[in-house]
Symmetry: D2
Subunit: 448 residues, 4 copies
């Protein structure tokens, strides 16, 4: 698929990036790792202005579970646009929203026996998290929220306070308050159960930690390094929260919408959170949309108490309704499970080629990764993959985990092709490292 002729700078003309360098803020980031100007895409393949194609294991950081430009959805969008369907409606009632609510109730909530109210928030994940935190604090009259090590919940102030990454936190420029940090499953190693620590510190006598309003968590920490909480751990959190009348918020923004196999990532633990945040792939076409699911007795918002202009992005409602069809039968989940097994097998095979450098294969569903001991090697692998036409990013506190997150609808052969490119990239990096070690380069140590 990849154009192989050797144009300089990964084949981009010299001035391709000029306007971005001249005008776009220095904050831009992914474009530095994947330097190309992308033009078109279809499902798991994305193409740049030079016609070069890449297999996309980034998938809009989880916003494109149903692939780029899913034609089924696209046709619905065009039809809606051409019929003068309302595009933007604040929180007015619209036909498009009505259709979405009905389908979400019928396809997702009812079959699982879930009773939730739906709040449409400003259409970014962080807006949904902020709404959930606000509501939890309002309902309980308490201020603190428990968040976990390696958590990622967003970049606006309340979400950022709950986020663990030091560099993101430092950028706040103000003190980040009202969050209690607790160790995630596995953070304290194998010998200590982090939930014992949480129980003692939150609820033990004399702990000095004020009773929190809520516990917020991701069931799989994607940005945090693909850390998967066990169902037992999740069930214990849920039970403790219920016992002490602390709300449980699941931030299912990245791991939800099928990423781990089921629609909700917490289904495997048999729990029902008090509040659930959804965004990213909820609209199914990469269109901005977010929502908070609220257990009915907690829905104590006053009208307009939390608002936002774009909470009525009707194109997103149309798309979101359309992709719910995938969840009408069991086959979709099964296809995810099947692809997940393939990914797991191939990753373990890659690890076996470099057991000294790759410490683990981690993940769940189509959210899996290779854990490198050396972040520089992980970085080299991502670059080598890009040279081989594969987009795959890094995660974890040390950016040492190569994270695979292909569209759930990726064709089997494209998935296999992408995994082969990754294997090739790893092999190339291992060889380069070996060369370097042999040459004993005194200026550039192999290990950072």
């Amino acid at each position: 698929m990849r154009n192989e002729n050797g144009i300089q700078k990964n084949g981009q003309p010299d001035d391709a990036f000029q306007v971005f360098q001249d005008i776009e803020s220095a904050v831009r980031s992914y474009c530095r790792r994947f330097p190309a100007v992308f033009a078109t895409a279809r499902n798991a393949v994305i193409e740049d202005e030079q016609g070069r194609q890449y297999i996309d294991f980034l998938a809009g950081a989880g916003a494109l579970n149903y692939g780029h430009n899913n034609p089924k959805v696209r046709d619905r969008l065009v039809e809606y646009l051409m019929s003068d369907g309302i595009a933007q409606s604040l929180d007015l009632h619209t036909s498009a929203k009505k259709d979405f609510l009905r389908a979400f109730q019928d396809v997702i909530l009812a079959p699982r026996g879930f009773d939730y109210r739906v709040q449409f928030t400003g259409p970014t994940g962080t807006n949904a998290v902020e709404a959930a935190l606000k509501l939890a604090r309002k309902v309980t009259g308490r201020r603190n929220v428990v968040a976990f090590t390696n958590a990622f919940h967003g970049m606006t102030l309340a979400s950022l306070a709950a986020t663990a990454r030091a560099s993101k936190r430092a950028a706040a420029g103000v003190s980040l308050h009202d969050v209690i940090r607790m160790p995630y499953d596995g953070f304290l190693g194998e010998d200590m159960d982090s939930m014992d620590v949480l129980e003692a510190m939150l609820f033990g006598p004399g702990s000095g930690v004020d009773l929190p309003a809520a516990i917020i968590l991701e069931t799989v920490q994607a940005e945090g390094g693909i850390n998967v909480a066990s169902p037992q751990w999740l069930a214990r959190v849920a039970a403790l929260a219920r016992k002490h009348e602390v709300l449980l918020i699941v931030d299912d923004i990245q791991a939800g919408c099928g990423r781990t196999g089921a629609f909700f990532s917490f289904e495997r633990a048999g729990i029902q959170p008090d509040l659930v945040c959804l965004s990213k792939s909820i609209s199914g076409y990469g269109l901005p949309m977010s929502l908070v699911l609220i257990r009915p007795h907690l829905d104590c918002w006053e009208p307009g108490e939390h608002n936002g202009t774009f909470r009525g992005n009707n194109l997103a409602f149309v798309a979101a309704t359309s992709v719910l069809d995938y969840w009408r039968d069991q086959a979709f989940s099964e296809s995810i499970a099947r692809k997940s097994r393939l990914v797991g097998e191939r990753l373990r095979a890659i690890r076996d080629t470099a057991p000294a450098q790759i410490s683990a294969v981690r993940g769940l569903g189509l959210l899996q990764g290779l854990v490198f001991n050396d972040p520089q090697l992980a970085n080299a692998v991502s670059k080598a993959a890009f040279e081989r036409g594969l987009i795959v990013e890094l995660c974890g506190p040390a950016e040492n985990v190569v994270k695979l997150m292909p569209p759930l609808l990726i064709e089997d052969d494209v998935l296999a092709d992408g995994l082969s490119r990754l294997a090739e990239a790893v092999r190339a990096c291992m060889n380069a490292a070996a060369d370097l070690t042999l040459r004993l380069d005194p200026l550039q140590p192999v290990m950072g």
Copy 2:
């Protein structure tokens, strides 16, 4: 335009709202004031499922300056969708973003002699404000930000701290820190210059107010009651900020993009803010998009230091590029000015019919309003207008200002029609109030 046959509940069938009542969160708000299920729209006219049409003076709370479903933009969107153009790209380079950046530079920045870097943030206004506050704090190493009485900057925690409305603030559930409140132009009445107070309190010896990182303001406070800052006041803020090395942030989310006549609302004051927040109508089709303009020497972000999945909403970039064409010649601004004069004249005429009840006509450009002494009367007028097929909302700390914000592209006759309906609604309410007073109803006082 309006279907006049008298179906109950403003013509909605009994079960039209059922799914919303059953499943949507109690936080929904506009839909309570304007109870209908809207289906389609074109420019300034919106139609519900029963085929009833309404003139829209709400315009997506300012997100629809170019009208509903602007056909020029719509055609570009469909074309882009059909060509498999990238929909969602995080902050990767895309052709659609490149086109927008070039057009924005050529059409907006260069002609005004403005030198700004563009940061794409999560696509809600509050995300843009959070980014601007964060950057200001980072650049200066200071924590406090000055915000004004009656300000509205958003609902996520840092923006909310800067927002004045008591009910919104209370919903935070935590202490809102790091904001210093100062009186807006006119807040202290005619005899006191609020800028004298600001100068003494921020910069006077012994004031006890820590030097702030930034001053954030709207040049016209829309939610706050349509308060218009004078050019002199704005120029003095800008001069004071510059002198003391405090950044000036203009939140132009509602008043920008032509709402007050010029593209930026601050052009009339001859100032150039350090940071400018744009959202709402920047995409021109109601699609979620936000950006922060940053004076180049302040663009000290580290890559990825502030991020968000949907900052690459390419459909919005396509639309945003398209509507910039309106700004290529002077005629657009002139048409806004012309319509503004019409609105002003008609509002003053309405006020003259009820000088005891309507204390002022306020506003700038196509953001104007009638100030009622009695909030209940303002509320009644909004309801009476809706019954007459006009959507017009309230604002101000007491919800006593009827706020007109029609699309800038509204046809002259539709605008005139809408204003007539408003006049009729006012007249009806005045008559009803008079009746009530005559009947001396002892249970329901006329004045709240």
Copy 3:
């Protein structure tokens, strides 16, 4: 009185300060301005180890209103010590505390018609302020407290948040929250009534300032530059606070206990605060003691909810009971008034000798000062006074006010002597400045 023989370093032997330099923290401050090792004292005269005597217009920063080592009190203390009276009792009942409470009720509260509960706090002023703020927040359930420009309330975190001085605030090392700063009487100049600003900003619609728990103020700001609030201004604060159910806290730590003539500094305004903080001269011998007066219906403390080991410093209770005798007849207040007039006259005479350098004489009672335009000149005057055997300190945000605070019991001739030394010091500094000016150094201002 002063030993005039010219020993170097103001007559101190070379190694007199060695142990302080070697072991005491760099935070020490007054000892740098007044470099001597003091040994004994009596009323307004203090003597160093070399036998040099100084008239003391500093008076323990207001803790020695009844003079150094008042013999009447001293005798009571010795008697108490020799009888094995309890020295330290936490908050147990003791005979000494009982005697104090009875005397305070009889001599101070009852004659003024005041009904207060007495809380003994940890024996520093800042502990009393912290207790008052805590109680106000508890009673009202609100967080914010209003404090004024140029306020000084102490150095522990809650008091420090209310304190205005920038250098003190910066030392906190954390954000100082939950305080709203408002302009003190006169801070905004003659043309603006700062109370109008306060009323609008605290209680006006849309102000964006959350309703505070309390307003805390000094009726005369001593550290802040000897700013005297007018009785009218104080009465208006009290009325506004009452109207809006905001508590009024008077920090009478420095200005109370007779410093301004009456026992409480607020008596001149005819107000009765909800909470009053007393410390400094309440014990009358410079012994640590503090208390909070609480209107009975506000005394909603749980037992032990605020505590502190040394709140039972019985030697201080003994001394405090003893000095209350001064308040049993009117003559004491009258003597303060008489001395105040003398100080005022002499200060105005000094000002008239240098009207270009001294902009004002300010103050009330025996808390008065000379306001210099140039802080360096104020500093020189304090130094020149010390060389002439007079201890007089500086205050104000620019340290440009020479502050006179002699013991209230100072003998008339010693007071007159001290004022003469001050006049002489001013004259010497004016001459030195004139000399320097004559030499016309245009590049290097007089003091570096």
Copy 4:
């Protein structure tokens, strides 16, 4: 020693407490548990106005290590008073302070090889803690401070944030920020090493806990329930802090000054903290005094950056100098050790009489306690002891620990007498409980 005739209300006349009930704030606390009006005292015996005597195992909550009214100190105080020695001096140099500094250097610091600067703060423990926290934050430029479960550091805002007791914290009325809570030695039970948790949570990658300025701890938590940290645990804290350039603050206010045997409570761990807070018994006569010891390179205070009127309480300096004589030879420590063994033996014997009710004997030196399973039983024991002429208080998060803290100089026979009274009180309560159980009293349940 005790007057046995049975006057009602523990022998107090009816109106003995009237003035306290009428005028003193409801916050008073110890006086409710020990209802008497105390008049005189000598070493470990205290006498009320009725002539009733009590053995004092409370000892001013640790402020009377050298006994009530130590005659040696008393004579020095009277001599100083009669010689017109300076009583109150702010932070001016005085002869009394010089003498204290020299003696403290010679007797305490030099023999231990400690190099510290001495900061005199406002004379309460909480003022010393606030100063230490402030300095740690200033030196490091960081905000957070680590404090432990069950910690007690004081009642002013920064100290209170570090304090664990929920009821004290709630009284703040504001959010308590900038403190990270960690589990103290033993808090997580025997199977988990709380220091492993601390290391991971403070210094592990991705922990999401911002690097703290300091770790503050008591080596024995007195208020928290007499929890003794092991020397190994303390040494590991110190090593971790040093490694990560986090300051170690030991709050030795209650456990220092000989309470645990050595002058500093941390000597047994072989560590040298960066900052040490001393108060309570540092003055040796119950006179208010506090200081912070600062490693010289950390003494970066600006002059006056932290201040307070009563930091120059010279009577306390005189007393503090006097009691340092006890530390000039080894015999004093040895006598404490001997008495400690006696206390331990007797407490274990008491426990053995009621092993089902008393779960442990805990403590170090002359700070030991009986841990009751039922707080109501602990409460009953304290009351029964008071009836038997013994003052002994409770501590621990559930107030279930009877805490013994006699003066270090208590005579052996008085100590033995006090322990016998305690044994008798326990026995009486056990019998009463047994009676109650037998009689199955339906009105007063045995378990609360």
